[in-house]
Subunit: 196 residues, 4 copies
DNA sequence: TATGAATGAGCCTTCATTCAT
DNA sequence: TATGAATGAAGGCTCATTCAT
């Protein structure tokens, strides 16, 4: 049984997620996480190398599941358009379900030290890969234009989704993110211009 | 003569910008800023309330100019499409010209404490207002579709531009951001879909 | 069967000796000793009251044997001069044979807490007694001068031997300690002065 | 004005010496030293790199003076015998005058980490050099025997003096160390043997 | 006996801010 | 205005010891 399967590991991960969401990254002392996880301060260090390792693990574990679910949901879909719709829908749905994760990913983890950022970006990379594969598929099937560098397309997709979630989190999640799925999908596919 | 007009005020602002860009947010001690600005530590506190106030001022001053220049450039343009093209072009141009500002806005200041983020967002708000006014103008002139909430459009525009810049900064600015202006503009206006 | 006769007791003592010699006193955690002794951390506490008790026991056991052997070897000798020669020879020989013991007694255990030092000194006392008995014998037989307090003589003998060993250990035992036996013996008996 | 000339530097050195002498090396927290020196904890770090640096400095400063005074006193003396007598006398006199220094050098500083030991040995080296120069002088003048390696002679001299002081400190300085000067001098010069 | 996961007290160091000059 | 020496609160981490199994 590895560390990750032990109940205390997940207990600490969850506690860390909540503490960061509630207090912000900078006010998240190890002792606070330990208390919320109902373990002694020292116990933390049986499961994690140091404070940074806790935070990286929170992100890796949670975003890992997050991305995994999206990947699964997309597989079935035929067209790039459907795949993108599903991605947006799943992205919004999961963050709606887990406000802690939303708060932490959109706000708190952006306040982290360079080394931590680097680790976060590794995880993020695998999400961007998912988006890239949708674009590639769309281009191959001639659904998506091929006159623009795919990297820019991915940046538009991720940038847009990310910005809509950030706004929603900063507005304290007062509206329903899922109501925007179709409109965001339409915007990304068709752009701003009025067609007639 | 207010504080802002005194030479030391600008001296400290500039020093802070450079120190953050060079050392990162977390390694930007007041003493380092003071040294770079050639003033004593204590002198900082004659011009700024506290450390946070320095950072907010950096952002306010620099982003103020940044936004002001974009506003000016856009005024002349007739169509929403032209205005948007100019905004993208100016956004990229200014950050290309000032690598310090790019590094600080895209990476370092996102690592700041919640209170600081809030102040930064106030400044950012006036940039988002500029984007909103372009959209509003476009809708009125029937250039821009009116079936989608303008807020979502603005989020796509800002999210996309922001994400392209972040990628560029994280790639150590190894390519020319300005080469992407037309493509980003086309993507935002026309979306991903292949037209025929 | 007392603790001392159980195999694990000696196992832990030997492990402690090696761990201290290899890692130094300050890096000798109980867990490290347990691992080297192939027992669980908790097992240590079935045989020893606490960490200090391990260290004292190491010293007591090893120095006990050390002193015992010297005592035995001296018994046979007739004169104080011969006894002293044998003591020096045995002292050097045993530490040459056991580099762990040398490193630990000369360097590492001197870095211990006052309480531990006190215990160590109790053991040392019995070694000093051996030296005292040689001196006493020599005085009685008129081999050794009686115009100087025997305590000072013992301090010269022990101080000199101890200092020569410390130097040797700090020079990483690069020369043969036993080569010095006769010279040290001559120095202690005859002093520094040139006779003619 | 360098750090060393500022009053607080000496204030902290003296406080550290007293704290170590009173509490032992291991119970000498930085905060305790700061309190005794009447400065804030942080102030310590304006004058010393870290805790170890305080301890090294204590030793360097105090032993520096110690050795300097002995060197001066020896210069005048003609013969090796007189020089040695003066060295013993000065060694005992200075430690008698400064019980703190005695306690720290004989007991506490031997309980230090390897890096600290190394620094201490550097200082000690210059004391051993003084002893070596006496021996060399004595050999040249045919006062001291030349059939024994001078290093062994030095080890006897230092080992003996050191051991006599250690015993005295451990006996809580209950007798007068200076009473032993002539006897120790006689022992070192003439050895243990009864002459007739 | 034996285990080893869990405990939690303890401490060095940083750095934003102050204030006497 | 300007200085910079001094302040002191705050927190991550280690490791000897315990105890449920």
């Amino acid at each position: 049984m590895t560390n990750k399967d032990r109940p205390k590991y997940q207990q600490i991960i969850q506690a860390a997620l909540e503490v960061i969401a509630e207090n912000g990254y900078h006010a998240s002392q190890v002792s606070k996480i330990a208390k919320k996880a109902n373990v002694a301060d020292g116990t933390i260090y049986l499961y994690f190398k140091n404070k940074e390792d806790i935070l990286i693990s929170v992100f890796r574990e949670r975003m890992g599941q997050f991305i995994h679910k999206i990947k699964n949901a997309i597989e079935d879909k035929e067209t790039a358009s459907e795949k993108l719709l599903t991605l947006i829908q799943m992205h919004y749905a999961q963050l709606t379900e887990s406000p802690y994760l939303a708060k932490v990913t959109q706000l708190e983890l952006r306040q982290s030290k360079p080394e931590l950022r680097r680790e976060i970006n590794k995880v993020l990379k695998s999400y961007l890969d998912v988006i890239d594969s949708i674009i590639e598929h769309g281009i191959k099937e001639k659904e998506i234009r091929d006159d623009i560098h795919p990297r820019l397309m991915r940046q538009m997709i991720f940038g847009t989704i990310d910005e809509t979630v950030t706004t929603w989190v900063m507005k304290n999640e007062r509206y329903n993110l899922l109501d925007q799925v179709e409109d965001v999908h339409s915007l990304l596919l068709n752009g701003l211009t009025k067609k007639n």
